[in-house]
C-alpha cells in the first residue's frame, strides 16, 4: 500500500516535468499543479529529477519512531506517552521532508550553473 502510493507520487513528479515539453496541457491534471506556467519557458535541458530520499539516518529514525509510537499506544491509547510518541513521528517526518527539499536545492549542476550560466553545460534554449 505504502509502496504503491510512493511510486505514484514519484511518477507524478516526473510527469510534471515531462509535461513541460507537451505544448497542450489538458485541463486539471495533477501534473500541472507543480509547474502551472512552465509551458511559457520551454527549456531543452533534461529536468527529470528523482524524488530524493531523506538522508538515511533520518529515514531510519522516522521508521523507528513509528514502531515506538505503535508500541507506546498499544498499552494506553490516550496516554501522554502515546501523544508524545506520535508527536515525535511528526517532528521527524517534517525534518525528513525538509532534508529532502534541501537536497533537491543542492543539485551540483544547478549550483554550478548559478555561478557559471554561460558555460555549455548550463546553456538553455528557447524554442
Amino acid at each position: 500500500m505504502a509502496a504503491i502510493a510512493g511510486v505514484s507520487i514519484t511518477t507524478s513528479k516526473v510527469f510534471a516535468r515531462a509535461s513541460v515539453r507537451s505544448s497542450k496541457p489538458s485541463p486539471i491534471k495533477l501534473s500541472l499543479l507543480n509547474s502551472p506556467w512552465k509551458s511559457c519557458t520551454t527549456h531543452l535541458r533534461m529536468y527529470v529529477r528523482p524524488l530524493a530520499a531523506a538522508p538515511d539516518k533520518l529515514s531510519d529514525k522516522v521508521e523507528e519512531s513509528i514502531k515506538n509510537a505503535q508500541e507506546a499506544c498499544s498499552e494506553d491509547p490516550v496516554s501522554g506517552e502515546c501523544a508524545a510518541a506520535w508527536d515525535e513521528v511528526e517532528e521527524l517526518s517534517a525534518a525528513a521532508s525538509h532534508a529532502r527539499d534541501k537536497s533537491k536545492d543542492s543539485d551540483p549542476l544547478e549550483n554550478y550553473c548559478k555561478d557559471n550560466p554561460e558555460t555549455d553545460e548550463c546553456r538553455t534554449y528557447d524554442n
Binding site: A2, E90, S97
Partner: protein
C-alpha cells in the same frame, strides 16, 4: 549622537543564565547560556539611530506550509533567505538582507527525551520556555542582539546557541507565536495558517507516504494523537491573528483528494498600517466568477467571494478563492480586479507567483494570498519606518 545605556536585569528562568558579556561598543548584545537557575542579563545598548525592528508572527501546525510562506515573504523583500553562514548546519534560522526568520521550536524547554519522559508533546506550553522567548523577542525588537538556543530537529537536542542580530524585519514562526500574551504584545503583525482537517490529511499523505515505515494508518494516527493538544494550545491562537489564511476543500466539484482548494483570507479591520484587500467595492458582499466571455478558464473554473464578516467577535473582511489558475492570463485578470494589494507596479503579484511557480500552491489561493500578505507586510513595514522618521521631525517643530 550615540547614546549608550547599560542596565542589568535579573530574570527567573528554568534553565538559562546569561553571562555578563564583554562589552563591545557599538554592538548590542544580550548573551544567554544555559545551565544555572537564574540569569543576569546585561544589556549594553548603544543606538546611533532610532531604527526599531518590526516583528511579525506566523503560526501554524507542523507541516502546514510555514516554510513556503516564509520563502514567499522573504522573496517580496528581495534577496534569497539563507541559513546563517558558517553556523550550525541544523540551524532553523533564515537570514536575508531585510529579514531574519527564526523558528520558535528553538525555545523548547524540554528536548525530545524530556518530552518522552514527561509524556508531553511539543504543542504543550509546558515543553516551551515562554519567558526566554519573550525576553529575546523583546530584546531584538529593541535593537539588541541575542544568543538564541537552537533546537536540533534531527537529534532532538538543544544545540549551542547562535547570535541573532536585530534585522529590519524579524519573523517568528512556529507553533506558539501568539500563545503568550507578552509575546503577542510585541508583534506588529500576526498571521495564522488554518488548514482544515481534510486538507491537512491530504498534505501529510503527500509529504510522508514515500517515507519508509509510514502508511495511511500511521499518518492518521499521528494527526489524531496530536489533535487534543493542537485544539487546546495551537488552534485558539487564530482569534488573535491580524490575518488568517483558511485552507479548505473545494466546493466547485466533489474532490476527495484535496487537489483543488478553497482558500479564505480573513483580514481584521482596524489594524494599524494594514488596509484589507478588497474586490470591486470595499465593504460590499460580492460573488465573482471571472471566467466567461473575456476569460476562458479550465475545468473546474475559478470562483471568488468577498465581504464583511465577524470572526471571534472582530470585524473582518474576507476574500475567498475557490479553484485554481491553469493559465497565466487567469492570474493577471484576477490581479487587475483586486484593490489595496499594495503592489509597487502593475502585475507584481503575478510576477511574484511566476517567480516561484515551483513552490506548492502557486496555482491556487494559498500562493495568491501568501503573496498578497507578503506585499501587505512590506507596506506595513514601510509605513512604520516612515512614521518613525516623521515623529521626531514633528517633535522638533513643536
Amino acid at each position: 549622537m550615540a547614546v549608550s545605556t547599560v542596565y542589568t536585569v535579573q530574570i527567573q528562568s528554568l534553565n538559562s543564565i546569561s553571562t555578563p558579556s564583554k562589552s563591545h561598543l557599538g554592538l548590542n548584545q544580550l548573551f544567554y547560556s544555559s545551565g544555572k537557575k537564574t540569569r543576569r542579563a546585561t544589556h549594553i545598548s548603544c543606538s546611533a539611530d532610532n531604527d526599531k525592528t518590526v516583528v511579525i508572527g506566523l503560526a501554524a501546525d507542523s507541516g502546514c506550509g510555514k516554510s513556503t510562506f516564509m520563502r514567499r515573504l522573504t522573496s517580496v523583500f528581495g534577496g534569497a533567505a539563507e541559513p546563517p553562514k558558517g553556523g550550525n548546519p541544523d540551524s532553523n534560522t533564515l537570514i536575508s538582507d531585510m529579514t531574519t526568520v527564526i523558528c520558535l521550536d528553538d525555545y523548547h524547554s524540554l528536548d525530545r527525551n524530556g518530552r518522552k519522559e514527561k509524556g508531553v508533546t511539543a504543542l504543550d506550553p509546558k515543553a516551551n520556555d515562554f519567558d526566554l522567548m519573550y525576553e529575546q523577542v523583546k530584546a531584538v525588537k529593541e535593537g539588541i542582539a541575542v544568543e538564541k538556543p537552537i533546537y536540533n530537529h534531527v537529534t532532538g537536542l538543544l544545540d549551542p546557541p547562535e547570535l541573532i542580530k536585530p534585522p529590519k524585519i524579524f519573523v517568528i514562526e512556529g507553533l506558539h507565536p501568539m500563545y503568550d500574551a507578552r509575546v503577542r504584545e510585541l508583534l506588529d503583525f500576526s498571521i495564522y495558517l488554518d488548514i482544515s482537517p481534510e486538507v491537512k490529511f491530504a498534505w501529510k499523505i503527500q509529504r510522508d507516504m514515500a517515507e519508509r515505515g509510514h502508511s495511511l494508518e500511521s499518518i492518521k494516527a499521528s494527526i489524531e494523537a496530536r489533535k487534543p493538544d493542537f485544539d487546546a494550545y495551537i488552534d485558539p491562537q487564530k482569534q488573535y491573528a491580524d490575518a488568517v489564511i483558511e485552507v479548505l476543500p473545494t466546493q466547485l466539484i466533489p474532490d476527495d483528494e484535496g487537489k483543488v482548494l478553497r482558500v479564505r483570507l480573513i483580514m481584521k479591520e482596524g489594524v494599524k498600517y494594514f488596509n484589507p484587500v478588497y474586490l470591486f467595492d470595499e465593504g460590499s458582499t460580492i460573488s465573482w466568477v471571472p471566467c466567461g466571455r473575456k476569460l476562458t478558464c479550465s475545468y473546474p473554473g475559478i470562483k471568488f467571494a468577498y465581504g464583511p464578516e465577524t470572526y471571534f467577535g472582530h470585524e473582518v473582511s474576507v476574500l475567498e478563492m475557490d479553484g485554481q489558475f491553469d493559465r497565466l492570463d487567469e492570474l493577471i485578470y484576477v490581479e487587475s480586479h483586486l484593490s489595496n494589494i499594495s503592489t509597487k507596479f502593475y502585475g507584481e503579484v503575478t510576477q511574484q507567483m511566476l517567480k516561484h511557480a515551483d513552490f506548492p500552491g502557486s496555482n491556487n489561493g494559498t500562493g495568491l494570498f501568501q503573496t498578497i500578505i507578503g506585499l501587505k507586510i512590506r507596506d506595513l513595514y514601510e509605513q512604520i519606518v516612515t512614521s518613525k522618521v516623521a515623529a521626531p521631525l514633528e517633535a522638533t517643530k513643536a
